[in-house]
């Protein structure tokens, strides 16, 4: 085999006038980019190994380092982009599928960026969230369409029939599924701790429930995915809710694969598979080949947990997502999580991540509308996922019809992730997407919990400010309230699909 012909993606710039030869970069880079040159008495860099995680840059005490995009642009014009050419180059080398991680890196239309929110002026006073209560409490689960009232002593009203089990969260933002295995235990600890601190939920993914996380299980949504890893009666019993994972926005239609290298002894115990074996989640659930099968699984899980907690289904946003959602409601699901084309992952074929599925905004709008038309909206909660970057994205998703959102990439970024998209290498310098004990210790879960909780706190704060600005003091008054949204620069077809008017239109 001839020498690898792939040029580096990044350039490592080192300001030698500032470098104090402290060797922090040498000690810290798990990819072996920085090497101490004994002869020169200075660090040197092998740029071909750099993944652009910026760990060295952020830890260099003198700010001598900067990691930049390698400037090797081609002359071939817009269509033959650098990434297209590099992809072909890599495939010519290896003959394999190109792997990617995190979210879509194509310029897929972010409709969130074309939506603007409303505010109150004069006729309707805005409300100051520093002076007045501003409520974000949200319930996830199926609800009856009306309440039965019974009369107690002295005619006092009381609840005639108990409500179905509901998940109560203090802010409409939850952490999306990320398994122990795909991320480190310290990352799981950080998110689970933050969820408990704020009063929202985290999600085990298909990683099982590690003993260290059992204390956080009352805030855990546990996944039952096609590999059934880690699923035990106790796992189901301890959880706050159960999520059947059918699909994921980053890789609709395909399964998952945790390389054996990440299946350490601890991961193997949690997932209940042998150490070092690849954990392969099949593309379909091999016991779900139709909606009736899904219904059986939903009710098997409800039976197993004595109807004590919501059972939902997570799907990728695909073309006929609205009809699928209706089927899922009829199958008895209490919530539907919809993951859009910008959703992230620890590893997926890039071609699928980048080209399969539809944007969450369109999927969400059409699911919410169809469920209302069918009179089913109260029977199910909708959780929107896939590329939520800010509190504005959260509020826009809720105005389009979501009950709550899932965030994952944003949560990892709060923990330190710089979205270098090489999670599948297992060498995450930030201690997140790795099981290497030298690396996982880099994420102190106390620090991680504080940072993740701070993110939720900050976004919740911002949402309250936006609500107050709209003259609203409870999140439910914005839920599905598309009057508070306007589109900018969207076609009539897009506006109709989103159920909104163009900016400049009156009420």
């Amino acid at each position: 085999m001839a020498r690898t012909r792939v040029a580096p993606d990044f350039a490592v710039r080192r300001d030698t006038a500032r470098c104090i030869n402290c060797k922090a970069c040498v000690r810290l880079c798990a990819n072996g980019v920085h090497v101490w040159d004994e002869v020169a008495g200075a660090p040197v860099a092998d740029e071909s190994k750099c993944v652009g995680c910026h760990f060295c840059e952020e830890h260099c005490p003198t700010r001598a380092l900067s990691i930049e995009r390698a400037p090797a642009e081609t002359t071939s014009g817009g269509h033959w982009t650098r990434s297209a050419i590099r992809g072909i180059g890599r495939q010519a080398e290896t003959g394999g599928i190109l792997l990617g991680a995190m979210g879509n890196d194509r310029p897929q239309m972010a409709y969130f960026d074309r939506l603007v929110l409303n505010a109150a002026q004069v006729t309707n006073p805005s409300i100051d969230p520093l002076r007045e209560p501003m409520e974000l409490k949200t319930f996830i689960g199926s609800r009856p369409d009306r309440i039965e009232i019974a009369r107690g002593a002295g005619g006092r009203p009381r609840l005639g029939a108990p409500l179905p089990p509901l998940l109560e969260i203090e802010t409409p933002i939850m952490f999306s599924a990320m398994s122990y295995g795909s991320i480190s235990l310290n990352a799981c600890r950080s998110l689970a701790g933050a969820a408990g601190e704020i009063g929202t939920c985290w999600n085990t993914g298909e990683g099982g429930l590690h003993p260290d996380l059992e204390s956080c299980a009352d805030r855990a949504i546990v996944q039952v995915a096609s590999g059934r890893f880690g699923v035990t009666p106790e796992y189901l019993a301890r959880a706050a809710a159960i999520e059947i994972k059918v699909g994921q926005g980053a890789k609709p239609g395909i399964g998952g694969h945790l390389p054996g290298g990440k299946v350490t002894e601890d991961v193997s115990r949690t997932r209940r598979i042998p150490v070092g074996s690849d954990a392969i989640s099949p593309a379909p659930h091999h016991d779900i080949y139709s909606i009736e099968d899904l219904k059986q699984l939903i009710f098997a899980l409800k039976e197993a947990t004595r109807y004590s907690k919501p059972v939902g289904v997570k799907i990728a946003a695909v073309h006929n997502v609205a009809s699928i959602a209706i089927g899922i409601v009829h199958a008895g699901a209490d919530f539907i999580a919809i993951d859009g084309i910008r959703g992230g992952t620890g590893a997926a074929p890039s071609v699928i991540r980048d080209h399969v599925g539809i944007p969450i905004e369109l999927a969400l709008a059409s699911v919410d509308q169809r469920l209302r038309e069918e009179g089913l909206r109260h029977r199910v909660s909708i959780i929107a996922a896939g590329g939520i970057r800010s509190s504005a994205d959260v509020l826009k998703a809720i105005a389009l019809g979501a009950d709550a959102v899932y965030i994952a990439t944003a949560a990892l970024v709060a923990l330190g992730c710089h979205v270098c998209r090489t999670c599948y290498l297992g060498k995450c310098n930030w201690g997140i997407a790795t099981q290497d004990p030298a690396l996982t210790r880099r994420l102190n879960p106390e620090v991680g919990q504080t940072r993740a909780a701070n993110l939720l706190r900050a976004w919740s704060h911002e949402i309250k400010e936006m609500l107050g600005g709209m003259g609203v003091n409870a999140i439910e008054s914005v839920r599905g309230n598309r009057d508070h949204l306007r589109g900018v620069g969207l076609s009539q077809v897009e506006l109709d699909l989103l159920g909104i008017k163009h900016a400049g239109s009156p009420w």
Partner: protein
């Protein structure tokens, strides 16, 4: 003026091994803090002799640990010091070293159970020992630790 109550508080830097990532930025910060310029580049590149060294670093495989003075309640180094160069400040509880009084007997090096004081053979005296960065709110090593492995512990004396 330090109150009697404060005098019974003991402050020290503790490093939690499980979160020490081996970057040694605590060392860099210590040197910088105890330099004349307090500038990280100048402290390391131009100042001579290089100041600081209050944190000592040990590593084996994935395990690494920064070790610094525990500012013991009954410090053996103080007991062993011939000249009174090593002394415990009754106000703050800090164990401090006065280079002007040090004769380089290195008894402190011999007695310290955690191996904190280090000799400076060239100058034939003690090189440096942790002074908790004088009156700073946070010692420099604690402030510089990127993973909150180094923490300032304040505890009542037994």
């Amino acid at each position: 003026m330090v109150t009697a109550k404060a005098a019974r508080r003991r402050r020290r830097v503790a490093v939690r091994e499980e979160y020490c990532i081996g970057c040694r930025l605590c060392e860099v910060a210590c040197v910088t803090r105890h330099s004349r310029s307090r500038d990280v580049v100048a402290a390391h590149k131009t100042e001579s002799p290089r100041p600081g060294g209050g944190v000592r670093f040990e590593a084996a495989g994935p395990v690494s640990l920064a070790v610094s003075c525990r500012h013991c309640a009954d410090p053996l180094c103080v007991e062993a010091c011939l000249t009174g160069a090593m002394a415990r400040d009754p106000g703050t509880g800090r164990v401090v070293h006065d280079p002007a009084r040090c004769v380089g007997c290195w008894m402190c090096v011999m007695t310290c159970p955690t191996g904190v004081p280090r000799p400076d053979p060239a100058a034939h005296r003690l090189a440096f020992k942790c002074d908790l960065c004088g009156g700073d709110d946070l010692p420099a090593c604690v402030a510089a630790c990127p993973n909150a492995a180094a923490v300032l512990v304040e505890e009542d004396e037994p």
